[in-house]
């Protein structure tokens, strides 16, 4: 029996604790759904090919590149974007360490970088430098040469973070 292809579908997701329900084009990328439909513009796009990692989010706890998924694939998922990292306006240790250690310049890769680093520290409390580099291998930064990013993640892991 032939089934007619659908060109749109209903998507229900939880993003940063908020519920969203939208009718969405079947071909719409998850990153464009997050940015354009939900107006959560912290998640960025830096390439067309899944290389740069600026769009990295947590999808049901896994770090994924949201440009490599369709929005409809996220139906029923719980998503965390960079906007969901802080609680009650308090920066996380990683966010604070990124600022303290000057781990960002233009800030464009930062959201994806923070999500990858968050995922790492959730699964490995005391990563080695090599483990950190491997964890952010899928995130391209064109400004920092990664030096201070690696240091910031180390600092956040070891609790050496200044606070205002």
């Amino acid at each position: 029996m032939e089934t007619a292809p659908v060109d749109s579908a209903f998507v229900s997701v939880q993003v940063n604790g908020e519920s969203y329900e939208r009718e969405v084009d079947a071909r719409r990328l998850l990153v464009h759904f997050i940015r354009d439909d939900l107006d959560l513009t912290g998640t960025h796009v830096g390439c067309d090919t899944g290389n740069c990692g600026a769009c990295t989010i947590l999808l049901d706890g896994e770090a994924v590149k949201s440009c490599m998924l369709l929005a409809i694939q996220a139906d029923g998922a719980e998503i965390t974007t960079v906007e969901g990292l802080t609680h009650d306006g308090e920066l996380t240790a990683l966010q604070q360490a990124f600022s303290d250690r000057h781990a960002l310049q233009c800030g464009y890769c930062t959201p994806g970088m923070l999500i990858s680093a968050t995922y790492l520290l959730e699964h490995n409390e005391a990563p080695t430098e090599a483990e950190i580099r491997k964890a952010i291998q899928g995130n391209i930064c064109r400004c920092t040469g990664y030096v201070n990013i690696v240091e910031a993640i180390q600092a956040a892991a070891s609790g050496e973070v200044k606070r205002d």
């Binding site: 912290g42 960025h44 740069c52 906007e83 920066l91 600022s99 310049q105 233009c106 391209i140 930064c141």
Partner: protein, 825 residues
């Protein structure tokens, strides 16, 4: 030729006390950026806006026989299209910097009649969503008649080469002869002459992670466009666009907040911006365009490819190089947008870091069927400095001179600063030999021979290399007249405004368009010191708006100058404001002379009598709200001060191509250790040291971040990154799969060091910096040549050396040596 350039006046040492200068003040920008609350161009949305997609040429060179947009326009959700024919009718070609023949190039927002590179925009399509715009673009039917392309710059001027532009014969955009000192005399005096037939600097770009883009709105009532965009040099873009659009400069309002990296690549976006202006007016709706990554690689600014031919270096027996002679061919791609300025900008660093007094250069720029070139971090100087460092190593190695000793012999010495180069540039300060010592120390140079043996025991070839960059900053735009004497550009300027608002809030607006350089923070540091407050008390408006009255003709962020021009303007404006506050407070506090008033902790108070103090809030209120308190004779006090910083430049001598082309010369000296696998040619950078000298460091952490980033870009360009084209002009590296930029695991351990040689010519003793990466390119080439020495002494001729190029050198070192010759007199 004994006439010398007049060195700029030395700046009086009235710099503010070093309260916050030299302190790692946390960046004001960070809080929003780490929370995803920045505002980048693709974040800007307008009601009912159209998404724009460009139909691009699949051919490197072709005549456009016909364009049919009817099927695209018929698609549901498509708002409209724009074609090259419409552009040709509604706009004039962009102003050309070049004199004829290059000046005959006709460059429009979309291809008119002919395409000249793969990826050239032909039609723009606007639709309700990004996806629909792409669908509609697929429905546009363009019929092309392919023409032969010219891809190789060394063949572009051949008589049988296809010609790109009417009235630009031999594809030659610009040609100039540079002759400084007495080259023939130097040649006659030489004991040895080294000749190198060819060196080649590859095409690449910094590929900022955020691609170019804009949201353009047209106000029909006023005929004014607002361009929310990430163009990094609005001053230049407006000058290019207003005449093309047949409108006034003030009808183009440029707005940006956060910009995701620029590196020069976001200077020449004016063609796409004009297309968006036309579309937004035609469709009566805001038009949004975000470049796709593939489009950025195919059609955004590339860094200039350059070939150095028939290089000749006269040397004395003691290793002193007397200068050089070369023919240089620069490939600017299909169109001249910022070009041919690259034909003169290299001359800011004519002798590199060396005391080379006799120089003869025949410089030619040609166009080819490749993406147009434009400024790219280290613009035009990087290519030239790489050449000087290659020359240094080839000469040292061929004459079996010690590479360190011969550099130190030829380096300009610290006690010669300020140093006048043979073409009249004034190197302001620096100590290259000291920087080199520190760089070598960082890679433990003393132990190199031991490490070489140890590597050998593991079957690896170890080599050490050295590179330098003179990061010349604060352009004298008068150098444009050396490529085109008719141009009316000279010197440089930047603006800042500082005001004290009604509740005592200090508000700073900049003319710059930062892309991660932390301008909000460093500006606040300068203001805080002068007004006696903390950087937290200073509100620096993020981004740029050309309507803010902090916009001048050269406003933007480019060419290593903010620490001089931007902060010079901030300092000037803040000092004006401080004077006004002191005058006002003195009057209000009972006729105390201004010099008796000090500014501290948010108060204007009488020195020695801190009880007699007027809070800034009261000052702001008196001028902005409570005017009865303002004495009549002080009505010219506005507490809103605008200052234009203009560097002390003069017009260069057009005939002799002579004069001071930039105000400051930051230095970077890098040392690099590589290990090469003899079987495969793959190699690893195992040790790396970068030493920076940018004079007074306002915020050391920011400076160091620039050193890291520039180095990473250089290492990417040295090992992987190249925009490779096939013979038909197809780009082979159009995305981050094929164009490999450094990832975290690719980066070697970076060690950094610094010295501070304050500039005697700048308001804060600081120098612009950020483009020092070229040293890394040279250092890797230098290290590879050193490592490969035991296997037939091959010579490194290219700037980019992926493993396969190293493998070729390993396999046939003799072939690389055919291009070098030593004549003993």
């Amino acid at each position: 030729m004994t006439e010398t350039t007049v060195a700029p006046e030395r700046t009086e040492t009235e710099a503010p006390q070093r309260g916050y200068i030299g302190v790692n003040v946390p960046r004001k920008e960070d809080k929003r950026l780490v929370q995803g609350e920045g505002l980048f161009v693709d974040d800007v949305k307008r009601h009912g806006m159209a998404y724009v997609h460009f139909v691009r040429s699949p051919y490197a060179h072709a005549r456009i026989a016909s364009v049919d947009v009817s099927k695209a326009e018929a698609l549901d959700g498509v708002y409209g299209t724009l074609t090259g024919d419409e552009v040709a009718e509604l706009t004039d070609p962009f102003f050309q910097i070049a004199p004829p023949p290059g000046g005959h190039v006709k460059d429009y927002a979309l291809a008119v009649g002919r395409v000249r590179h793969v990826g050239e925009p032909v039609v723009a399509v606007a639709a309700r969503t990004r996806e629909l715009a792409r669908d509609a673009a697929d429905l546009v039917e363009v019929e092309y008649e392919p023409l032969d392309p010219i891809v190789d710059p060394e063949r572009a001027a051949d008589p049988d080469a296809p010609q790109l532009h009417d009235d630009v014969p031999s594809n030659t955009i610009w040609n100039g002869h540079f002759d400084y000192g007495d080259y023939d005399g130097a040649l006659a005096a030489a004991d040895k002459v080294i000749r190198i037939k060819r060196l080649h600097f590859d095409r690449f770009s910094s590929t900022p992670l955020e691609t170019s883009g804009a949201v353009v709105e047209y106000n029909r009532g006023t005929g004014q466009w607002t361009l929310h965009c990430n163009n990094q040099f609005p001053g230049f873009a407006i000058i290019m666009m207003a005449p093309a659009l047949r409108t006034g400069m003030d009808k183009l309002r440029f707005v940006s907040q956060d910009v995701g990296g620029g590196f020069g690549n976001k200077i020449c976006t004016h063609p796409q911006l004009v297309a968006l202006c036309l579309l937004s007016r035609k469709l009566k709706r805001a038009c949004q365009w975000t470049e796709w990554r593939t489009e950025q690689h195919m059609a955004n600014s590339h860094g200039n490819e350059r070939v150095f031919l028939d290089v000749e270096v006269p040397v004395t027996d003691d290793g002193l190089m007397l200068g050089f002679k070369a023919r240089m061919i620069d490939d600017c791609g299909a169109y001249t947008r910022y070009e041919p300025l690259g034909c003169i900008i290299w001359a800011q660093v004519t002798p590199g870091a060396y005391r080379w007094r006799n120089v003869r250069v025949e410089f030619t720029q040609v166009c080819t069927n490749k993406s147009p070139c434009g400024p790219n971090r280290g613009y035009s100087r990087m290519q030239h400095l790489w050449f000087t460092e290659r020359v240094m190593d080839v000469v040292a190695d061929e004459l079996k001179l010690d590479r360190v000793a011969v550099r130190k012999k030829n380096y300009i010495r610290a006690d010669e600063m300020p140093y006048e180069t043979p073409n009249g540039c004034i190197y302001d300060s620096g100590d290259y030999a000291l920087c080199l010592d520190k760089a070598l120390e960082l890679v433990d140079y003393e132990s190199i021979e031991e490490r070489r043996r140890e590597a050998e025991s593991r079957g690896k070839l170890l080599g050490v290399g050295i590179g330098s960059t003179l990061d010349s900053g604060t352009n004298n735009f008068g150098q444009a007249t050396l490529v085109n004497p008719e141009l009316q550009y000279s010197v440089n300027n930047e603006v800042a405004s500082v005001k004290l608002d009604i509740f005592g809030e200090i508000v700073v607006t900049l003319g710059t368009t930062p892309q991660g350089q932390g301008h909000e923070t460093t500006a606040a540091q300068i203001v805080a010191d002068i007004l006696g407050v903390t950087p937290d008390d200073v509100n620096v408006r993020p981004g740029h708006d050309s309507y803010w009255n902090s916009h001048a003709g050269f406003s933007g962020t480019y060419a290593s100058q903010f620490a001089v021009t931007g902060l010079g303007a901030v300092k000037g404006a803040t000092e004006m404001l401080a004077d006004q506050i002191r005058t006002l407070a003195g009057a209000v506090l009972g006729g105390v002379p201004p010099e008796q008033i000090e500014l501290a902790e948010g108060f204007a108070r009488i020195k020695g009598n801190p009880e007699a103090a007027l809070p800034f809030m009261a000052c702001g209120a008196i001028v902005n709200a409570n005017n009865a308190v303002l004495p009549l004779e002080l009505r010219d006090i506005t507490l809103n001060c605008r200052y234009v910083y203009v560097p002390p430049h003069q017009l260069p001598d057009k005939e002799r191509k002579y004069g001071n082309l930039t105000l400051t010369y930051a230095t970077q000296i890098h040392a690099c250790v590589v290990e090469v696998d003899e079987e495969t040619g793959s190699y690893e950078i195992v040790d790396y040291g970068a030493v920076d000298d940018c004079g007074v460091r306002i915020n050391p952490q920011i400076v160091e971040g620039q050193v890291h980033g520039a180095t990473a870009q250089a290492l990417g360009a040295a090992t992987h990154e190249t925009f490779a084209y096939d013979e038909q002009g197809n780009l082979l590296t159009p995305n981050f799969y094929d164009y490999h930029v450094p990832h975290a695991l690719d980066m070697p351990p970076l060690k950094t060091g610094y010295i501070e040689s304050p500039s005697p010519f700048t308001p804060l003793g600081a120098k612009g910096m950020g483009e020092g990466g070229g040293a890394g390119l040279s250092a890797v080439c230098s290290a590879l040549q050193d490592a490969l020495r035991p296997v037939g002494r091959p010579i490194v001729y290219d700037s980019c050396n992926p493993y396969w190029r190293v493998w070729e050198m390993l396999r046939d070192p003799a072939k690389t040596r055919e291009n070098v010759e030593v004549e003993t007199r």
